[in-house]
Amino acid sequence: MIDAFVYLTRTTLRNRFASQLRRLRNPRYAIALLLGVGYFWLILLRPAVQPGRASRLVWANAETLAALGILLLLLGPWVFKNERMALAFTPAEVQFLFTAPVTRRQLILYKLFRAQIVILLNALIWVFILRRSGSVLPALLRLVGTWMVFTNLSLHRLGAALVRTSLLEHGRAGIRRQLPAIAIGSAAFVAVLYILRDAVPAIRAAESAEEIGRAIEWAATTPAATALLFIPRIIVGPSFAQTATEWLRALGPALVLMLLQGLWVVRTDFAFEEAAAQASLERARRLEAWRRRTGRPRVRTTGKRRTIPLAPLGVPAAAIVWKNTLLMMRTGRLGSIAGLALMAVIISMPAIQSRGMDGRFVAIAALAMAGLLVVLGSRVLHNDLRQDAEHLETLKTLPLSGSRLVAAEVLSSALPIALLQLVLVAVAFVALLGDLAFPLDPGARSVVLVLMPVLLLAVNVTTTTIQNGASLLFPGWVRPAPLAGGGVEAMGQGILATAMLLITFVVALLPAVITFSVVALSVRGVLAYGWAIALLAAAGVLLLESWLVIHALGRRFERMEPSERG
């Protein structure tokens, strides 16, 4: 059976590589590849910078921070219901493997084997991204270390997914069987809360990066933290070794942990199989449950199904925004966005009441989050053509021009992101109400708040247009859902994609920045808040640029054939 899995993986990879190569005959793909390679070549050719003071400081605390991050990632699968991704199989795998005389354990081994392709690729990307992080370890050793981190995380996620599935399907019996794992997970979660209770006041009181680092290190030395970070430190050990000897010493425990986790995954499955009372019936039911786990967000099929009214007449493209909003509602994304906004408001309430330094802290945090959403919002929320890629044929039969359809799809993502940012900006505004020492005077802050809806819409329409443009221009490269697993081990590709988005966004910003400068200089001294007009003009330029691009993308959509997605 292993031979068959190896054959399937090998031929899939070979054919995929061949089809990507064939795609390069298309000038669009060839030029994009050249630009991408050129960009990375330039980065590689740039003389290496010696890590400075800040870099050394980050490195000194990096191991603890990484261990904390790993701890959260280990706890994640127990807290969040993401087993769907860990157990995701492609429809073809479901059709051929689930109906084949293959045991569940063999399927899991196959899953582990396939995950290694993603893990290896992303380990390479991470080593590349972090090549100037200050580590003196040879690249190959760092690669092995990173590979072990990702493999350990991947195994843990799969194990947790199996345990959760077992719990769901076996009720009390499942709980008894998985009691040790549940107890460890719960204890760890409680301990994390204790650490946070101790660490947060110290971090908030810190006035410099060094003090923040010291506060984190101090929090990590408490007995609860030491116990909790024991496993995460083993996982990150090889990656943070400074010499080959240290690396070798750290490798052993990490390797043992990896093997133990592998055994746990297989044993979990064994227990799962063994416990089935009516083996064949149960298996069919479980396979059906597995079949439903695809890579796309799951639509809730239970609970009250609320809807939004839609008038039969009006702008036809509004129906696209309407249906995408319903998708957000039914996959829980709208709830998540509203929850984030609500959380921002609730967290800021005490600060707003006190109007002291806490207010400034909240304001800066809210503004930082709003800023982060400029880049990450459109990367995370795919409520547009990227999500609708599978419905391309249906969309193409609709009596809508390509540009109107693309515009509606872009707005479906841009509007909710802008709305969330607007709430965050409003929170910052309120938090700073009593703070007269803040660099921006209260009058200017009010002007900014009034302009924000337009500015945020312009910025988010631009970033979402770039994302949708990529999926329309390079449908063979941009995929609507990850091929496997997901998780931090698949984040490397995401980071590269985000970097490309940033570069394109910066290029798109240039005309807007020039417009801002020209208008601001022209009205300086003439109007009290002349820069506000300049900001509006810049937003107008961004929207105009986006409209021109959307128009071009609309034509591309009309010409695009479903077979291009490959």
């Binding site: 036809p316 249906k323 319903l326 044929e393 010409r559």
Partner: protein, 245 residues
């Protein structure tokens, strides 16, 4: 009216459809038949606006699909063999969505009628994942019929339907044609084609091998006289020799 003139579709070196011309007048039902890989689906998808022809023109109710796609598509309904539904919209919401996109002013009144006609009335709040294959097909058909299209293109419309559903669907297609719609029906169910279609277009390897009513096709080929449609089809597509009469 559906008018196709010199339709050609190339995929690189491969010719999927070559120089295909035909018209379907209001009230007519054209049966599009051919063996697997003959180019039927390519033809239908070109007419539906999913793929762009390499050469040739397609006109729907006098609107050129290439130059006035929105106007042309507004008068067309395409019902594919595999229903592509939005998994997050309920049955009723699919119809409301279709109504808004096609600008159906009285959609609210038409929706319950269509749901009853297609036996989906008790499923109006169900998501596609909660429907059987046949019901999903019925929903796709309901969405196609909501805006009362002047041109109806159906690709294997009976796939997944139960016997009662098949009978109802046959009646629905006939009723739409009587109401003045130009219908193209692609199906391997030759008895259905024989029963419903006023004209036949047989294609093989991307080219038309016969076009006209069954009587006209047979009249042009005396060797086919007296044969059933299945034998006529097999003889035209050259898969078997014409049986001796």
């Amino acid at each position: 009216m559906i008018a196709v003139d010199s339709l050609t579709k190339l995929y690189g070196e491969l010719t999927a459809v070559e120089d295909l011309s035909f018209t379907v007048a209001p009230g007519e039902v054209l049966g599009l038949v051919g063996p697997n890989g003959a180019g039927k689906t390519t033809t239908l998808r070109s007419i539906a606006g999913i793929i762009r022809p390499t050469r040739g023109t397609i006109r729907i109710a006098e609107h050129d699909l290439a130059t006035h796609p929105v106007e042309a598509k507004r008068r067309l309904a395409f019902i594919p063999d595999e229903p592509h539904l939005f998994e997050y919209l309920t049955v009723e919401e699919h119809l409301r969505f279709t109504g808004r996109v096609y600008g159906v002013a009285d959609a609210s009144a038409r929706i319950p009628v269509l749901l009853r006609e297609l036996e989906l009335a008790d499923k109006e709040r169900a998501l596609p994942t909660e429907l059987s294959r046949g019901m999903r097909q019925k929903l796709a058909i309901a969405c196609g019929l909501l805006h009362e299209p002047a041109a109806l293109v159906l690709d294997e419309p009976l796939t997944g339907l139960d016997p009662a559903g098949i009978r109802k669907m046959r009646a629905t297609i006939a009723a739409r044609a009587r109401a003045g719609a130009a219908v193209i029906l692609s199906s391997h169910l030759l008895h259905l084609v024989e029963e419903l279609c006023t004209k036949l277009l047989v294609i093989h390897r991307g080219r038309a091998v016969a076009y006209g009513s069954i009587a006209e096709i047979v009249a042009e080929r005396p060797q086919l006289a007296g044969l059933g449609l299945e034998d006529v089809f097999l003889a035209l597509t050259g898969d078997v020799e014409t049986p001796a009469t």
